[in-house]
């Protein structure tokens, strides 16, 4: 059996490495660079009921070892994603995790109902933590009761397992994780971006047109590690870890903290071939270190035996 094969609710992954939502579009661009079949899964760009243009530009700003983005959930809308993007992406032998966004409960429920009914979608990722939209988003991700309620409503209609994407912009991440677990979530993905800002010294004004944006990249990795470390000890949900991963060592660190799989975000911009490279390097790392299966590492930083919950045999 492969050292990398991983089973999570709704997902059988050839390997536990997948591009994170928003960094990979719907896969079309990267498919020109490499065969998407090598990926563990694909988290597609957030989909809302209606098409969205998103925020004015500049939408990105560089920061020390990171970047801020304020795209504003630009997407072609549910109908086009169902008709065009999902059928296209289904030509690849890769599980699709559909990121669902909205500004009120009804929006999420509607998108979740429809998109989870697609034969091409294996799981949902509930985007309750986008920092870049004026309404909704943020409250769902920071108020435990609201997050729980939303999760419950989405679970009622979803035909596939639901992973909830947690925001790091909270004072108690464990409380948030437990709330969505109570709401019926099947898994967690964490962390989303941290809210930040940069100011242009020449103009004296924020660089981003939206003023604030979500910080990602290596700069946020320690925050992600800490939060996964805390949450993995307090919930039974599998965790897809993300936040600044760009090397195999980063992946190992996420596993030791308590992750069951990982997603690669910003690193896709600095190196568009990062996902296939990491998949290969991770296998080599495990082999060189005589680790039979990647899941053996999950939670090893806090438990001698590791978590081993999702060991696939």
């Amino acid at each position: 059996m492969s050292r990398l094969e991983t089973k999570l609710p709704g997902l059988t992954l050839k390997n536990p490495i997948m591009p994170a939502s928003g960094c990979f579009g719907f896969g079309r661009e990267f498919s020109q660079l490499y065969d998407l079949d090598v990926l563990g899964a694909i988290m597609i760009k957030a989909t809302t009921e209606e098409p969205r243009y998103g925020n004015p530009t500049p939408r990105v700003a560089e920061t020390p070892a990171g970047m801020l983005n304020a795209i504003g959930l630009q997407n072609p809308g549910l109908e086009k994603v169902m008709e065009r993007e999902l059928p296209w992406l289904s030509q690849y032998n890769v599980p699709i995790i559909a990121n669902v966004a909205g500004s009120q409960v009804e929006d999420y429920v509607e998108v979740a109902r429809t998109i989870s009914g697609s034969p091409h979608v294996q799981a949902l990722e509930l985007n309750i933590s986008c920092p870049n939209v004026k309404t909704g988003g943020i409250a769902f991700g920071t108020v435990p009761e609201t997050a729980k309620h939303l999760t419950k409503k989405v679970k009622e209609v979803s035909e596939v397992p639901v992973y909830v994407k947690l925001s790091p912009n909270v004072s108690n991440i464990v409380e948030m994780a437990k709330a969505v677990e109570d709401g019926g979530a099947d898994g967690l993905t964490m962390i989303n971006t941290l809210l930040g800002m940069r100011i242009d010294l020449k103009t004296g004004k924020p660089i981003l047109a939206n003023r604030t944006g979500g910080l990602s990249g290596p700069a946020i990795k320690p925050v992600a590690i800490r939060m996964i470390y805390e949450v993995s000890q307090q919930t039974n949900l599998p965790i897809i870890g993300m936040g600044g991963i760009s090397t195999v060592e980063d992946i190992i660190e996420f596993y030791l903290a308590g992750a069951d799989a990982v997603a690669i975000g910003t690193a896709n911009f600095s190196n568009p071939y990062i996902c296939p490279e990491l998949i290969k390097e991770l296998d080599e790392y495990l082999s060189a270190n005589q680790i039979d299966h990647i899941s053996e590492l999950t939670g090893r930083s806090w438990s001698k035996d590791g978590k081993r919950t999702y060991y696939c045999s």
């Binding site: 020109q32 700003a61 070892a65």
Partner: protein, 259 residues
Amino acid sequence: MIKKEWMTVVSQQNIAKNIYELTLQGELVQEMNEPGRFVHLKVSGQTMPLLRRPISIANIDQTNSRFTMIYRAEGEGTKLLAEKKAGDQVDVLGPLGHGFPVNEAQTGETAILVGGGIGVPPLYELSQRLNEKGVKTIHVLGFQSADVAFYEAKFAELGETYVATVDGSLGTKGFVTDAIREFNLQGDILYSCGPVVMLRALEELQLTKKGFISLEERMGCGIGACFACVCHTQNDPTGTEYRKVCSDGPVFPMGEVAL
């Protein structure tokens, strides 16, 4: 096809104040077949600076597998790039985007090429290709001042060349549009790259029936996946229709995108 390659620095020269001419060598050059496309450079193997930098292709020499860029060393990334010396390696992704369509100009026609500042470089490869095709080129180059001006002589070898500087230290005092008016320049087709204010002024001037402009925007991926670089269209200036500067552009037909 888009490729990523560690290319070798052939030469790096300071050609005007903070302006560098950098020539790289590698296989990727064989993929470069259109003027106005760009490359995305990672100037350091470290996490700072994290993002790639988009720089236009200014000259293509496929025989020797070399291409040249001209850039302004301004911020963190471009300053690091300016430190590269002959023999050093640079991580290049490209060629990216859609460039200037040479076929839109017919043999015997006159093309006006208007560049502003660091928008001038891609016009150099374009001008050579137009001239090869028998299209007459007139060049109008705008700079802040004489000390940051470059390539006037090189363009002059290819066709009539006019320069405008904001402070009047070289050529016409003012903007490219002032030079165009002063010399009553006329042509069949316009190609331009430079700041948005300049592109907007050129659109208003309606110098030619046909025109192509190259835009600049802050980028994430550079390949069309992240939606960092979008702009509205003139058809639907406040709606959901959009173009991505990195993959639909950076060159657009005049009148297509909202400036």
